[in-house]
């Protein structure tokens, strides 16, 4: 059940350059049913910026009715969001969408979690849940440069963690795809920029792969048709899925990316 809730900010801190970790209290954490779901945030009371911002849930603490998001301060909305402090209130719609299917991999099997930049956060909760199930987890996380790297320590707690940077300033120089070639796995979960998702989908068409997509959104709940993508397994050309309500996570091959 999707809720609209005025949530209290518990804490916010900058964990890498322009990368903020935001922790809020919300009754709807009980409704979160899979890693990779997201929320839709209204960052201002006034009418500019107007639209909500979609941000993934990066970890959930059901006991304390809290959840965490990690986002990059980029444009107008996230800049305003970054200015908020503990105790302030935030109008949040969530949880939204369908997350990563944790049951597609069994205890003892290996899951490869591949994240690019600001696509990394939702993999954290996924890693926690897979590990709890007894799945072996390997993380490959790509960033632009050293100052953008975050959560390496946190991921290391759950499994091997490879970091790549485009400029080689940290970890291995290059792209995540360079690293994952060498790794073996039963199931791959990924979230990040579209070119990365495309490359992975192509490389592993024979494997079990789940991708989390991004698309510009209006409503975030399936009503406005802003975020559609074509399905690839149909013969006609009018079939579609909505990233916000059918996704954001799809099985590789399910939709055209």
């Amino acid at each position: 059940m999707i809720k609209k809730e005025i949530c209290k900010i518990i804490s916010q801190k900058e964990i890498a350059q322009d990368i903020f970790q935001l922790n809020v209290e919300a009754d709807f954490v009980n409704e979160i049913n899979a890693p990779g779901q997201f929320v839709h945030i209204r960052v201002a009371k006034a009418l500019d910026p107007l639209l909500r911002r979609p941000i993934s849930i990066s970890s959930v603490d059901k006991r304390n009715s809290q959840f965490t998001m990690i986002y990059r301060k980029e444009g107008k909305g996230t800049t305003l969001l970054a200015e908020k402090g503990p105790g302030m209130l935030l109008d949040i719609l969530g949880p939204l969408g369908n997350g990563f299917p944790v049951n597609e991999v069994k205890a003892g099997e290996t899951a490869l979690l591949v994240g690019g930049g600001i696509g990394v956060p939702p993999l954290y909760e996924l890693s926690k849940q897979l590990t709890a199930k007894g799945v072996k987890v390997i993380h490959v996380l790509g960033f632009q440069t050293e100052s953008a790297v975050f959560y390496e320590k946190e991921f290391l707690e759950y499994g091997d963690t490879y970091i790549t940077t485009v400029d080689g300033s940290y970890g291995k120089k290059g792209y995540v795809t360079d690293v994952i070639k060498e790794l073996d796995f039963d199931c791959l979960y990924t979230c990040g920029p579209t070119p990365m998702l495309k490359a992975i989908e192509k490389q592993y068409s024979h494997k079990k792969v789940f991708l989390s997509l991004e698309e510009r959104m209006g409503c975030g709940v399936g009503a406005c048709f802003a975020c559609v993508c074509k399905t690839s397994n149909e013969l006609d050309d009018v079939s579609y899925k909505k990233v916000c309500s059918d996704g954001p996570v799809f099985r590789a091959g399910e939709v055209l990316i």
Partner: protein, 313 residues
């Protein structure tokens, strides 16, 4: 509440608040949030003869106090709307206004004839003003003679009253309104979106794949109010007003300008509860302002007693 009911051609509204076409799908999503029977009516997404995928993405872009969309009339097509969506909606006690779109006159006629037979469709909204379709659409909405004729032809086949949705992208909105009134329209809905654009700072290219899109939201409210103010004084058919409404206060403002009911579009995306919230807040706002019934507000900007015959239930 008997302070909010409004009687319009084909529409016995328990309140004058309805979601605008394209901003509420066919109701399923928002039914997760509240009982759709609370609404005065629902304007469903534009329906065309054939299913349409619409435009490539990105289809929306934000602007200051507004948004651009270029959905491109994505919809499952007449057949599915009639067989799936309308029957699903019939579980709610709410009249449906079916938004009818097309590229050719025949398309409009085919959709209108068919969809107006559905028992819960109480009126049609002729979308002659969508800025996001390449053929037809926009021309119907900018040439008075073409609009008049289309209205007349659709009236001939429709089993329910026909409202015509006006485009604000014209030099003379009054002329357009009079033309469709003359063509037999039972009412007007206005305004559709203003044509606008945003460019991507990095690439220099339009943000929307369709390049241009329709501007909606609070940014366009002053334009909507001005046009309703002008048109309501010039025609004798009622107007369902829309354009940037997001609060009960603004509903009153639209009534003052000359609207007899209103639709809420973009604001649903900002707050999924916006329609029921407005409906709840209106009675106490009427108290504050000293009105017994919302219909007393209509046309106050241009006349002492803005109440016309078709108004009160």
């Amino acid at each position: 509440m008997s302070r909010l009911n409004i009687q319009l051609p084909g529409l016995n509204l328990k309140n004058p608040i309805m979601p605008a076409s394209g901003c509420f799908g066919f109701g399923r999503e928002y039914s997760q949030f509240y009982d759709l029977s609370k609404l005065g009516a629902i304007m469903i997404k534009a329906t065309t003869v054939e299913p349409r995928f619409g435009n490539p993405t990105p289809r929306v872009a934000e602007t200051s106090s507004g948004m651009l969309n270029a959905i491109g009339l994505q919809n499952p097509g007449l057949e599915k709307v009639v067989s799936n969506e309308l029957p699903w909606l019939s579980q709610y006690d709410v009249p449906i206004i079916a938004n009818v779109a097309g590229s050719l006159e025949e398309d409009y006629i085919e959709v209108a004839a068919e969809i107006s037979k559905a028992s819960n469709v109480h009126a049609l909204e002729l979308n002659i003003s969508c800025p996001n379709v390449k053929t037809g659409g926009i021309a119907f909405g900018t040439i008075p003679e073409v609009a008049r004729q289309l209205t007349r032809r659709v009236k001939e086949v429709s089993e329910v009253p026909v409202y015509v949705k006006l485009s604000p992208n014209v030099t003379n909105i009054v002329e357009m309104a009079k033309a469709v009134e003359d063509g037999g329209a039972d009412g007007l809905t206005m305004i559709n979106t203003l044509v606008g654009m945003r460019l991507d700072l990095k690439t220099g290219k339009p943000i929307l794949a369709n390049r241009t899109g329709g501007l909606s939201g609070p940014a366009i409210k002053p334009v909507a109010l001005r046009m309703i103010y002008e048109v309501s004084q010039a025609v004798n058919i009622p107007i369902i007003g829309m354009g940037g409404i997001e609060s009960a206060e603004e509903v009153i403002e639209f009534f003052y300008a000359g609207a007899s009911a209103v639709a809420v579009g973009t604001a649903n995306f900002v707050d999924p509860f916006v329609c029921p919230t407005i409906i709840e807040e209106l009675p106490s706002l009427l108290d504050t302002l000293g009105y017994e019934h919302i219909s007393e507000c209509r046309g106050r900007s241009w006349q002492e007693h803005g109440q016309l015959a078709y108004h009160r239930a």
